[in-house]
């Protein structure tokens, strides 16, 4: 029972980390290597707003999210737009921005342990004989809600459908009057906000540390590769596979092997199904 419950919690956390990355990649074919940095940045901004500016939790979280969205949009508009279509430069530029944010924060005194976000509600509850604290329950509920809302947004609003159109065929979208640059900015902003939302939901479980920025990036990437880049269903499914594999490895082998599982999953996926679980034929052609 432990394994099932913690497996679900872990899987939802992974899906939350990955969803922003896969959205940005799906829409603009841009691997946002600053994803982990935006995640940590949101947590840090929330902390600053709460502890330095004295705002309450909800307000500071919302403001931090908004700021992260703006930073994401600015990042695209000012830097990444100039290197679009040059994969090497895209990777290096976004990775460099992420590094600048993370290492800048580290220099600014962000160390593990001292910076913590409080959980939404203290205490714990017993689910099916397993004691789980409220925050982890919130992770599952909010994660599922967020993903559901996102699904509704993409399939039912005009903006969402435009994003989906861009993801499927950029040229065809252009002929239908969808401004591809504006959509890409929007996607980057939404993707950054999703990274931020994941941070606000997940960070109360631990402390805000620079290292977890790298960890989030790696996990997001692992989930996306296993699921097939740009595929939503694939990403969620992959999050569950990796999530459960990690919990099983922790239970049967030890906590150190958690990260190794992710790499193994990637390597096995790449050998057996290079385009990922739900990658389409077109993507196969593009990546292999």
């Amino acid at each position: 029972m432990d394994i099932i419950i913690y497996g679900i919690i872990n899987s939802v956390s992974l899906a939350l980390m990955a969803v922003g990355f896969t959205l940005v990649y799906g829409v603009s074919r841009l691997p946002n290597f600053a994803h982990g940095a935006l995640y940590i940045l949101t947590g840090y901004l929330t902390w600053i707003l709460m502890n330095r500016a004295g705002l309450n939790y909800v307000f500071s979280a919302i403001i931090a999210l908004g700021l992260t969205g703006l930073i994401g949009a600015a990042m695209y508009q000012l830097v990444l737009i100039r290197v679009r279509g040059m994969p090497i430069s895209e990777i290096i530029a976004s990775y460099a921005i992420g590094l600048a944010i993370l290492e800048g924060l580290r220099w600014g005194g962000l160390k593990g342990g001292t910076f913590r976000l409080p959980p939404f509600v203290e205490g714990s509850v017993t689910v099916l004989g397993v004691s789980v604290d409220f925050q982890r329950i919130f992770v599952v509920i909010l994660g599922a809600t967020l993903m559901g809302a996102l699904w509704l947004f993409v399939n039912n609003t005009k903006l969402g459908l435009a994003l989906k159109g861009m993801a499927q065929d950029e040229r065809a979208a252009l002929t239908l009057g969808i401004d591809s640059d504006r959509m890409a900015v929007t996607a980057t902003a939404i993707g950054s906000m999703l990274a931020g939302a994941a941070a606000i939901i997940l960070l109360p479980l631990g402390s805000i540390a620079v290292e977890s920025g790298y960890h989030v990036l790696i996990m997001a990437v692992a989930v996306c590769i296993v699921g097939g880049l740009g595929s939503w269903t694939g990403a969620v499914l992959a999050a569950f596979i990796i999530g459960f594999a990690q919990i099983l490895s922790v239970v049967y082998f030890g906590a150190h092997y958690q990260a190794v599982v992710a790499l193994l999953a990637i390597v096995i996926t790449l050998i057996c199904r290079p385009s990922g679980l739900f990658g389409r034929q077109k993507e196969l052609e593009e990546r292999v």
Binding site: G104, I266, P274
Partner: protein, 340 residues
């Protein structure tokens, strides 16, 4: 071009001396010979004299060695990214493997540095190539992502299994016999590698490499196994990285987890972008600029990496050709404005 300046554009024409010295007339006069040799001589003499000039300050003399190590790494990155088309964000992995290989060979078998370094280079390159084999079919983004994970996971695994000294690393590795041997060995390595790689990419095999980068389907259609060539590319790049790592171990007489660190991944990339990708000399120039700056910033800790990243982003956005290509253009071509 904005019309307020009038309708004109910049025209670039090769200098006469460049056109002549490209062909067989290159050795027709001393002037032409000097034109060809001067830039290369500046690099060779500059690197050869640096340890002598800086011998008054042992600290900065050591920096020359570090520049050389980073230059080797940066050349490897440049070669892999701009000739084979594989962007490797995990340069630290090569350094770490090379460093550990050299340290183990030295402490377990008692081999002297001059034997461990070539052995570690070869052995490390073979290990890296084998470990990267499953990822080789991947292109651009996907390879970059996976290569980013390698050094992080390698450090995790060493830590988790507590092998090779765990978090303490391997202590008691022999140093070079003296500082001059260390410096000139490294300078020699860098110079040989620069010219050897520049020669290599002009050969037929270099053409295949570039083909793999630009249009791998076409290369496949010509009946060439692209994975074989990618493996060869990774082998060359990781050999350069391992060579750097092995030298680093003997310089510091220590091999440890910090050799998988981010510095070894990001500085070579920054140096390549600043110096000029695709030239193979550019990365060395980039290191000559960035590494001393990094030493000056040493007091600021991780701000160094942040500064690098900003410099890197700025160069990518505003001056993506890099210093080397820019200077080469000024050296070889006239520029003038022409009315249209």
């Amino acid at each position: 071009m904005s019309s307020s300046k009038g309708d004109r554009r910049k025209e670039r024409i090769d200098r006469g001396i460049k056109v002549r010295s490209d062909s067989v007339y290159a050795i027709s006069s001393w002037k032409e010979i000097t034109y060809l040799i001067a830039p290369r001589l500046v690099l060779i003499l500059g690197l050869a004299l640096a340890p002598l000039v800086l011998s008054a300050t042992p600290y900065w003399q050591r920096v020359v060695s570090i520049i050389c190590v980073y230059s080797l790494l940066a050349m490897g990155f440049d070669f892999l990214a701009n000739y084979v088309g594989l962007v490797s964000l995990g340069g630290g992995f090569y350094v770490g493997i090379g460093a550990y290989a050299a340290a183990l060979l030295n402490t377990h078998f008692g081999l002297p540095p001059m034997i461990t370094i070539p052995m570690a280079t070869l052995l490390g390159a073979i290990i890296c190539t084998v470990l990267f084999l499953p990822c080789l079919p991947l292109r651009g983004v996907y390879f970059a992502i996976v290569s980013l994970m390698y050094p992080l996971l390698a450090a995790r695994i060493v830590e988790a299994l507590d092998i090779f000294g765990g978090t303490d690393g391997i202590l008691g590795v022999d140093g070079f016999s003296n500082v001059w041997v260390e410096q000139y060995f490294l300078v020699l390595c860098v110079l040989v590698m620069v010219f050897a790689l520049r020669r290599l990419v002009e050969e037929d095999i270099g053409l295949v490499f570039r083909g793999v980068k630009d249009n791998d389907q076409a290369v496949k259609a010509s009946g060439i196994n692209i994975n074989q060539y990618k493996a060869l590319g990774v082998f060359i790049a990781s050999a350069l990285g391992c060579l750097g790592g092995a030298c680093l171990t003997h310089m510091y007489m220590w091999a440890g987890l910090s050799q998988f660190a981010l510095d070894f991944s990001i500085i070579p990339i920054a140096a390549t972008v600043v110096g000029g990708g695709g030239t193979l000399v550019g990365p060395v120039l980039g290191c000559l600029i960035l590494v001393p700056v990094s030493e000056l910033l040493r007091d600021f800790g991780s701000l160094r990496i942040a500064v690098y990243s900003i410099v890197l982003t700025a160069f990518i956005v505003f001056k993506s050709e890099g210093i080397m290509i820019y200077t080469a253009r000024k050296y070889e071509q006239f520029e003038r404005w022409v009315e249209i």
